[in-house]
């Protein structure tokens, strides 16, 4: 963002908004104070004028000339010019020389310019008709008071200007700081969009709202990165797993092309190719099915199904295979049958079949495989245990990933998709797959918590 766009930043806008609000409030406050102070001063002067006026009325008019002259002597700066005017308006005595000015009202204070004094100061006056028709005008020179008012006003304006300048500078600083931060965040986001997924948004140590947001976004980025890695892992695994049969197929076909073969030999090559191709097709189908199951599309096909019945069928399905390996294959049912659940019997069969098949595959000759149904107050499900090589604790999460082959099973036949499918099926049925800690072999539980 450019500096010219500073005014668009939230920080700047907020700061100026507060500045404006503060300015209005301050102005109102100062205005009120100004009004009160000047009003108070005028009231004081008016009070004094009224007192002087009352005193004047009570006095003997004949003594006034002397008194006013005396007063004039005492007031060389002509702060309080009193003047006495004759009936014809001529000045008789006092510190306000010249003819009688026009008087708007009598016996009540009024403001006027003291025209006859040097620099025509403003004044507050009260006029009185004396008994002998002369007019007495008593005034207070208010120049100093006005000076004070002006000073006050000046101070106010300069403070306001200072506040404005400081406020604008502050707003700009805040704006620039937020702009810098946002610029940094934007730059990071652009870098991430451009493909650098390991980049994270910059975090300040302020722990403010923006930091909280940045923290959440960074968490999201971690998750996205993890998923991307997983997808990449899956892609790599697919590429790797499919390259092998494709290479075999190609080699066979090239061999057939190179050599002159008899018909049965050609047939054999074709059969081999068909076998490999259908194997590849099956792998792809399995992958698609896992995605389909994970996306939960199949949930619409749910019916009421009992896990015990499915487990029975799976057990029976694998009995001959286990027997061929001379494995002791046992099924244990609980006293209370597990409750019926909503589910897809075909998928549950497939998931359990995958788990049992793994157990039978990895159990040694003459080994043991136990399928145990259980149902209690908290959960129900099936536990399958074997005495094969087991799964390392560190690999327990990974084996549920597509194409992942555990260290112990790297050379065993299989697609590496069985457990991912079982896990996907578990997920869509609200069930879990859990590997238990056992001394030897592998024990996996496929279970569902009981709904209360």
């Amino acid at each position: 963002m450019h500096l010219t766009e500073l005014h668009r930043t939230t920080g700047f806008r907020l700061a100026t908004l507060f500045l404006a609000l503060f300015g209005v409030v301050a102005m109102l406050l100062f205005g009120y104070l100004y009004h009160e102070i000047t009003g108070f001063e005028q009231e004081r002067i008016d009070d004094w004028l009224k007192r002087e006026h009352a005193e004047l009325i009570r006095e003997d008019p004949s003594e006034l000339v002397v008194r006013f002259k005396h007063q004039d002597l005492l007031d060389p700066r002509q702060q309080r010019p009193f003047a006495l005017f004759g009936t014809d308006g001529k000045h008789l005595a006092g510190g306000n020389p010249g003819d009688r000015p026009p008087i708007p009202q009598f016996d009540r204070p009024f403001s006027m310019r003291l025209e006859n004094l040097p620099k025509r100061p403003p004044g507050r006056c009260i006029a009185a008709h004396l008994a002998d028709d002369r007019v007495a005008l008593q005034c207070q020179n208010t120049r100093e008071l006005d000076h004070f008012d002006e000073e006050l006003l000046h101070a106010l304006i300069s403070t306001a200007l200072l506040t404005l300048v400081l406020g604008l500078i502050g707003a700009s600083l805040i704006g620039i700081s937020t702009m810098r931060r946002l610029d940094a965040v934007t730059a990071s986001i652009e870098e991430i969009v451009a493909g650098n997924l390991s980049r994270r948004l910059p975090m300040h140590s302020k722990h403010d709202d923006v930091d909280r947001l940045v923290g959440v976004v960074n968490g999201m980025l971690d998750e996205i990165e993890r998923l991307m890695h997983e997808v990449k892992g899956v892609c790599d695994a697919i590429a790797h797993d499919l390259r092998t049969p494709l290479t075999r197929m190609l080699a066979g076909l090239e061999r057939a092309q190179r050599r002159t073969m008899t018909e049965p030999e050609y047939r054999a090559v074709i059969d081999e190719t068909i076998l490999e191709t259908s194997g590849l097709l099956r792998t792809f189908n399995a992958l698609l099915r896992i995605s389909e199951i994970e996306s939960g599309v199949r949930r619409q096909g749910f019916t009421s199904v009992n896990l015990a019945a499915v487990a029975d069928d799976v057990f029976e399905f694998y009995e001959p295979t286990a027997e061929d390996k001379r494995i002791v294959f046992e099924l244990t049912r609980p006293a209370i049958a597990p409750p019926d659940m909503q589910g897809d019997p075909n998928l549950l069969f497939e998931a359990l079949a995958n788990l049992v098949e793994n157990a039978v595959k990895f159990a040694p000759q003459n080994g043991h495989v136990r399928v145990t149904l259980f149902s209690d107050a908290n959960s129900f499900g099936v536990t399958i245990s074997d005495d094969g090589p087991g799964i390392a604790t560190t690999e327990r999460r990974a084996v549920l990933r597509r194409f992942y082959r555990g260290e112990a099973s790297r050379h065993a036949p299989g697609s590496g998709l069985g457990l991912s499918l079982a896990s996907a099926v578990a997920g869509m049925h609200g069930m879990s797959i859990q590997f238990n800690d056992v001394a030897t072999g592998c024990e996996v539980t496929f279970f569902r918590p009981v709904e209360r």
Partner: protein, 227 residues
Amino acid sequence: MSKVLVVEDDEQTLAEIVEALTDHGCTVEAARTGRDGLVLAVANAYDAIVLDRMLTGGLEGLGMLAALRSAGVLTPVLILSALSAVDERVRGLRAGGDDYLTKPFEFIELTARLDALMRRREAGPSVQEYQVGPLRVDPLKREVTRAGRPVPLLPREYRLLEYLIQHQGQVVSRTMLFEAVWDYRLDERTNVIDVHISRLRKKLDPDGSSPMIDTVRGSGYMLHAPD
């Protein structure tokens, strides 16, 4: 020779299906839209119809099937679909389909299922006794004898044999067996059935007698009288 109608809008898939069915010994007619298919199916007597679930141009597969059934045509219909979800299959079967096959499929699976569909129609009411060569099966007592000697079978083995006998001389795919005998629909991992078959074989073919169940490479099994 069986007469089959194929309704499929994708040229290439259509050509491949027609070829596979012709190789299988069927007379094949093709329609590229639901409308054409409906007209043909109503006008001619086919032994079976292969119907694509998703058809472009007006009438789609299930719509055509419903129209066909309401017109009183009961020709067995095998639905092909790219949708594998179970409820899609259920919908297809409810609309009047007799079997459902998910794309991509192996052609041997298609022909095996078509054969089963056509045979189902031919099969009369319940049979009193099956006899294939020296093998006799009494479905009521569930008793099996070969050349007079009783063959003791477990219930599942019996059902396996019964299905194979009902489709004797026909290729039966593993998935078909699995569906019929275990009542689950499963496209993967059906190789375990081989173990069951080999057990059945051991019981059926005592030492020295010629085998009755052939393995058809890459697809399934066939039961026939021993050579």
